[in-house]
Amino acid sequence: MQALHIDRLVKRYGDFTAVDGISFDVPEGEFFGLLGPNGAGKTTTINSIVGLSKITSGSISLFGLDVTADWRATRRLVGLSPQEYNFDRYLSIRDILIYQAGYYGLHGKAIRARADDLLERFGLTSKAKQVYTRLSGGMKRRLTIARALIFEPRLLILDEPTAGVDVELRLELWAFLRELNRDGMTIILTTHYLEEAEELCSRIGIIEAGRLVALEGTRKLVGERTLQDVFLELTRR
């Protein structure tokens, strides 16, 4: 089954075309990398998947359900870890997770236990009662991922998950994401760290000026070169 199916997606802002007829699939269980320079259309594509952007034309479906027609069902299937820290400043770290689950229609002991598990797993237990503004950059980054996972989505979208974190934490996050993927979760990753995409993703799509300019298995795409060389060649304007 396709976890994600995008068919001729177009997104325009006035005269500006941010995404220009992109089509691709992500099979269930895949670790997929969506790369591209700043302003290429990655975040717009992600926002269209999760409902933050209104699609101009084309269609997106998640696990066979259309994100517009079946918006409520599809939103229960996808977790987003955004690039920005957009946490609720009035809630404690633990409550950020519990309330997020609430917005997805989930509550009770199981959710509180899952929140505690995630806090433990991401090394945030000691900060559970604090507000997010007291966390370090790395901790905030971990919290965005924990929040995206609280309702156990089947597809996890990570927008720059390791931006601004130190090497040690990055390696820890890589190990964690690999484990999630091994357990069956489909993951879509956008990153500017090309070695990260090369390390984690089994397939990579590269967007340039709103168009998909490459879509290949990572090994095939890179070949004898480095991903950086391939990326620069494909995205040179």
Partner: protein, 263 residues
């Protein structure tokens, strides 16, 4: 697996309740901004105008002046606080992007707007209850018709929480949120019969005041305390209900189309 979700298009009642609860957490975490100021302001009005200056004023419509003041003061705070609740939470959510937590969740526009309205009502009823008790203790006046008391607060909360959502969406900076309060709500409330009966006004102004929506709200709420007012109760309630309906559906429409929420 916690989620049952595949193909699940059911309404999200828990999401709605979570939003209401979140708004209450917000209200009580800024208690010095939203709960105590209206209570203290009301106390000052009661002492300075009601008990101090009021001792020199004859009864208004047969009611001692300090007692006459209480319903108007309550509804003034209900208006102010429900508008603040809707406008500040939506604007802050947009400004900090935290509203995206709701926008990516399986919550409909109806559930979101209703969440803000119910949270506004909860804040309003809490403040109204505090002032009602103060009024009872200080000037010995209590509502005599609780159904009118609750109905008026419900309608006014729907109206101003919805207007708050609308202005929270339109605002580009915090300053814009204050526009309605500064230039519309406060002046209209002050000339709408909080401090004096419109019967004391010249005939022309008395007629004009019938078109002041705040007059209708204050008038309706006064019935809860004094069983009389400057205009019929039913007409005031109908006018408030119509305005509340228009504002609610306006807010719902804007959130439905993702106005300044979804790009």
């Amino acid at each position: 697996m916690i989620v049952t979700a595949e193909g699940d298009n059911r309404a999200n009642f828990i999401g709605f309740l979570t939003l209401v609860k979140r708004e209450m957490v917000r209200t009580f975490s800024i208690i010095n901004q939203v709960i105590w100021p209206p209570v203290i302001q009301t106390l000052l009005y009661v002492f300075v105008l009601g008990i101090g200056l009021g001792s020199q004023i004859k009864a208004v419509n047969g009611v001692p002046y300090a007692q006459y003041l209480i319903p108007g003061l309550i509804i003034m705070q209900v208006i102010d606080q429900t508008y603040s609740e809707g406008s500040s939470t939506v604007f802050q959510g947009r400004f900090m992007n935290s509203i995206q937590e709701l926008l990516i969740a399986p919550m409909s526009a109806f559930e979101m707007v209703m969440g803000y309205v119910v949270a506004g009502f909860a804040r309003a009823i809490f403040i109204a209850a505090l002032i009602t008790v103060l009024g009872g203790m200080l000037v010995r006046t209590w509502p005599i018709d609780w159904s009118v008391y609750f109905l008026t607060i419900v309608l006014v909360s729907i109206l101003f929480a919805s207007l708050g959502v609308i202005f929270g969406l339109f605002a580009e900076k915090f300053d814009h949120v204050a526009l309605l309060t500064t230039f519309v709500i406060t002046p209209l409330v002050f000339v709408g019969g909080v401090f004096t009966s419109t019967r004391f006004m010249p005939p022309v102004l008395r007629t004009v005041s019938q078109f002041n929506p705040m007059f209708q709200m204050i008038n309706a709420f006064r019935y809860a305390y004094q069983s009389s007012g400057d205009a019929p109760l039913w007409s005031s309630l109908v006018i408030i209900a119509v305005m509340a309906g228009v504002a609610y559906f306006g807010a719902l429409r804007l959130v439905s189309i993702g106005f300044k929420l979804r790009t």
